[in-house]
Subunit: 208 residues, 2 copies
């Protein structure tokens, strides 16, 4: 539980119910995600459902969010975290969850392989963009503007994009990710793609 | 880690790699199970694969193994664990894993709904039988015969079938479960069902 949660009186599962129950709740929720997809998906051919199980399993497991969290744990407290490692953590812990959500939607919606891969890259770029912006906002905004403690990354010695590359270069990376995300949408019906364009822009321009 | 593991120098994941990595390994393995089924199942129609996802999710999650483990945690140290609670723990922690394995096999093998349900009850009875026998052996055999510490359940105050019902009644329950398991097999081709008959008898008659 970080200090912001503590200050707001927000307790986390393991504080309220203990570590064992928290771990078991996590296990149960992973299983429930798969069970729910199997039971509640209607109007989709079963081969597409099987395909999203493969995507979801990969996104969670040892090549996905777990890999990102393990890397994060191993590097916590380390003073020489490089750009490659920072990106690895963000891509696996955050971007992959955006990615698999978009990919599952594309698969269930009947997308072609090409469309599915475009949605994958769109969401990966937007997910990573979200993290880069988080780092930029932490370094540039006041706590009041953010609604949470500003400058926390600097205080805790956390590696961030501004720390590794400076603010200007971090901004450039954010803008490049936004462009790359939107490029993936160019072959879709503009009306249908509009919410996704707006989302990528919102993530780039958010102020807190 | 229990004392038998310690004595044999067998270390568990959380001792070697720490709690966080052990928890993450558990998460990754649950995801891998689903991913592997999605990727590696061949020659089976996708609708049957979706059905086993539903079964597996339910067996692991908050109505399955996790429920059994939570009940076990909540009752640890309690002096008034009754038969109903003991059976709940064994059915959910152990028998359900046998059950879902058998059910998934029956589904993948193209079994009818009736055949699948018979396999379910066969495996549930055999799984519970395994636990009843565990309790009986702990109370009746020497450590040398068992290959692990005998009488451990009594020493640790653990609730067991012999403790609740006595040895004779526990034996009767074991024999009844063995019969119920085998009854489920009566409509299958005897030659194909023979290994399952042997398994139920082996679990009843095992000496360690």
């Amino acid at each position: 539980m970080d200090n912001d949660d503590l200050r707001r009186g927000k307790l986390t599962t393991h504080k309220v119910y203990g570590e064992s129950i928290a771990v078991l709740a996590g296990d149960a929720l992973i299983a429930l995600a798969f069970e729910h997809i199997a039971n509640a998906t209607v109007g989709v051919t079963p081969d597409r459902i099987v395909r999203i199980f493969s995507e979801l399993g990969k996104a969670i497991g040892s090549q996905g969010a777990v890999a990102g969290q393990v890397m994060d744990l191993l590097l916590t407290g380390s003073s020489d975290v490089g750009l490659e490692q920072l990106e690895y953590i963000h891509l696996h812990k955050t971007a992959l969850l955006a990615e698999v959500s978009a990919v599952m939607g594309a698969i269930l919606g009947g997308g072609s392989d090409e469309e599915i891969e475009k949605m994958r890259i769109y969401a990966r770029c937007t997910g990573l963009l979200f993290q880069v912006l988080d780092d930029i906002l932490d370094a540039t905004k006041s706590s009041e503007q953010l609604g949470k403690t500003a400058g926390k990354d600097l205080m805790t010695g956390k590696t961030t994009y501004p720390k590794l590359l400076g603010l200007e270069k971090s901004r450039e990376i954010a803008e490049k990710l936004n462009r790359e995300a939107k490029e993936q949408l160019s072959d879709f019906d503009p009306e249908k793609a509009a919410p996704l364009v707006s989302l990528a822009d919102y993530v780039l321009n958010r102020q807190n």
